[in-house]
């Protein structure tokens, strides 16, 4: 049992100092900008919720939000089942398991811009294996010119990049299932499918929830990889929320609306984070038997 001791705050001070510096101060700046019109460095006018209203009505934002939701949901629909499947195929122990783990995890350790670059090259029909092969098969594949091709490429890139995370989580979850369950299932005459449905899947529930929430949130914040691959194009076909925000803030230098949108963006994720946190608390205390 934990003892109650407010002096524990001293142990937390370093963390608070570092994170507060890098998080609270900027956040305050954003809030500041979101309610002011900055005409010049010295002229600020308080405009209240005007920027928020403007942003909410912005059709470009709606478009980006729609594309973002579509992207995040597609990514989940592919990565979660695929991750479970691959985790089931991985060896349980020995040098083969170590090797498989290392090879599987490789895409996770590549800097995100290099991920974009790899697929940028890979998808080109002149110097890339994928682009060349697909075109040879008869499809007119061009991810810079065709919106659908761009979408598919971005999707495949993300699946390639992040499925390993789902695999690793599920793999760990599977290793935690005691052998006795499989032994009992054999004695009960259960089929392979029954073992998956009644033993493995229920025991993976907690890990899967974490995977789903993490993937949803991270895909919601994605920026670098699609930016390097397609630049958001063709047009704005693959422009998702983070890029929309960056365009507004840095590109067009519309600080007010950008700040307002930043807050809205942050609040959406906060909502998901709240759900994730409460779920994990429930998982944490429920499993402590």
């Amino acid at each position: 049992m934990k003892t109650y001791n407010n002096r524990a705050w001293f142990l937390i001070l370093p963390v608070i100092a570092c994170v507060a510096f890098s998080a609270i101060l900027p956040l305050m700046t954003i809030v500041n900008y979101s309610v002011q019109d900055i005409l010049s460095p010295t002229q600020h006018v308080f405009v209240g919720t005007e920027w928020f209203k403007l942003v909410m009505r912005d059709s470009e934002l709606h478009g980006a939000l729609y594309r973002q939701m579509l992207f995040s949901l597609s990514v989940l629909a592919i990565e979660i089942p695929l991750g479970i499947l691959i985790a089931l195929t991985m060896p349980a122990q020995g040098w083969r398991a170590s090797l498989a783990l290392v090879l599987i995890a490789l895409p996770l350790l590549i800097p995100w811009n290099v991920v974009g670059t790899i697929w940028q090259i890979f998808g080109r029909s002149d110097i890339g294996l994928l682009g060349y092969a697909v075109n040879e098969m008869g499809f007119a594949y061009n991810y810079t010119g065709d919106s659908l091709d761009a979408w598919l490429t971005v999707l495949v890139m993300d699946v390639w990049h992040w499925t390993p995370l789902v695999v690793l989580l599920c793999y760990a979850g599977l290793r935690a299932i005691p052998d006795a369950y499989y032994q009992a299932a054999r004695i009960d005459g259960a089929s392979r499918w029954a073992v998956f449905r009644f033993i493995q899947l229920p025991k993976l529930r907690n890990v899967l929830m974490i995977a789903v929430l993490l993937r949803f949130m991270d895909s919601f914040m994605i920026y670098t990889e699609p930016f390097v691959l397609t630049g958001g194009g063709p047009g704005n076909a693959t422009t998702f929320l983070s890029q929309y925000l960056t365009q507004k803030a840095v590109g067009q230098f519309d600080l007010g609306p950008a700040a307002a949108f930043s807050l809205i963006y942050f609040l959406i994720i906060l909502l998901f984070c709240f759900v994730l946190y409460n779920w994990m608390q429930r998982v944490g205390t429920g499993d402590k038997k």
């Binding site: 001791n5 800097p111 690793l168 919601f220 600080l255």
Partner: protein
């Protein structure tokens, strides 16, 4: 369990497809630009290490790697150092606002980096830390420290409180106990934490690019300037990309035993 007849081929195919793009880049890095744009071949006809030579000899290239490694290491050390006492506090004590504090920490991990772009730019300019390794390290701490606290707390909670109490009875002061006894017991936890801090800091680039210009420019920024008058320098670009994978592959090889164990601590 699943019959090996079915699972091994599936795994093999997945690994093959997964490694293919990486292999392709390796393939390109060993060719000259002429060969690359000339014909599409699965391996180099004229194997050349010139692209790698360029990177190792051109300061503007290898500086990028060095800068990246510097800020990643600073971040790793700072994140773990700062997270250790905090994780201990969360693990052993309950205090006013502890649940809210933990939640607030997690929200930092969940904030889109794009949101921080402009404010960071202004903040770090103001304090004169623009274009320094420290700036990037500090900025990355925003999402690494919460993760570090979360993972370490999980490991620490696995050590029974009786160990602490025994040490105090034996006359250890808190700092001595923490350093000489406790840290050794959560060795693998620190390993896992360091791995994740490394991973997230090494791969993140939006903030790293924003906060640096010349002296602390990471390799990602350098990689965007491969267009010269002679056209795109594909060979060097590919070689640079291959080299960015190497540190990650090394780290994961060294911590491979801890990965499965670390993920399986019941929290993540």
């Amino acid at each position: 369990m699943m019959s090996k007849f079915f699972t091994r081929p599936v795994l093999a195919i997945y690994l093959l497809l997964s490694l293919l793009p990486i292999y392709w880049m390796l393939n390109m890095s060993l060719k000259t630009n002429e060969e690359i744009v000339g014909a599409l071949t699965m391996w180099p006809a004229n194997l050349t290490f010139d692209n790698f030579k360029t990177i190792f000899t051109d300061a503007s290239w290898y500086d990028g790697y060095i800068n990246s490694i510097i800020y990643v290491l600073i971040n790793m050390v700072l994140s773990v150092a700062v997270a250790l006492p905090a994780a201990y506090a969360f693990s052993r004590y309950s205090f006013l606002g502890d649940k809210h504090l933990f939640f607030w920490l997690l929200t930092n991990r969940m904030t889109p980096p794009a949101v921080f772009l402009l404010p960071f730019f202004q903040l770090y300019s103001t304090v004169g830390l623009m274009d320094t390794h420290l700036a990037v390290a500090l900025a990355h701490m925003v999402f690494n420290v919460p993760l570090a606290v979360w993972i370490l707390e999980g490991f620490m909670s696995g050590i029974p409180k009786e160990i602490d109490e025994t040490a105090y009875i034996d006359g250890y002061s808190f700092p001595k106990f923490f350093v000489k006894i406790f840290l050794l017991m959560i060795k693998s936890g620190i390993g896992v934490t360091a791995f994740f801090c490394f991973m997230f800091s090494w791969v993140e680039l939006l903030l790293a690019r924003t906060l640096t210009s010349v002296s602390a420019k990471p390799i990602s920024a350098t990689m965007t300037r491969t267009v010269s008058a002679a056209g795109m320098d594909w060979g060097v670009l590919a070689a640079a990309g291959v080299l960015t994978i190497v540190p990650g592959a090394l780290v994961i090889w060294f911590v491979r035993h801890y990965i499965a164990k670390g993920f399986a601590m019941g929290r993540v």
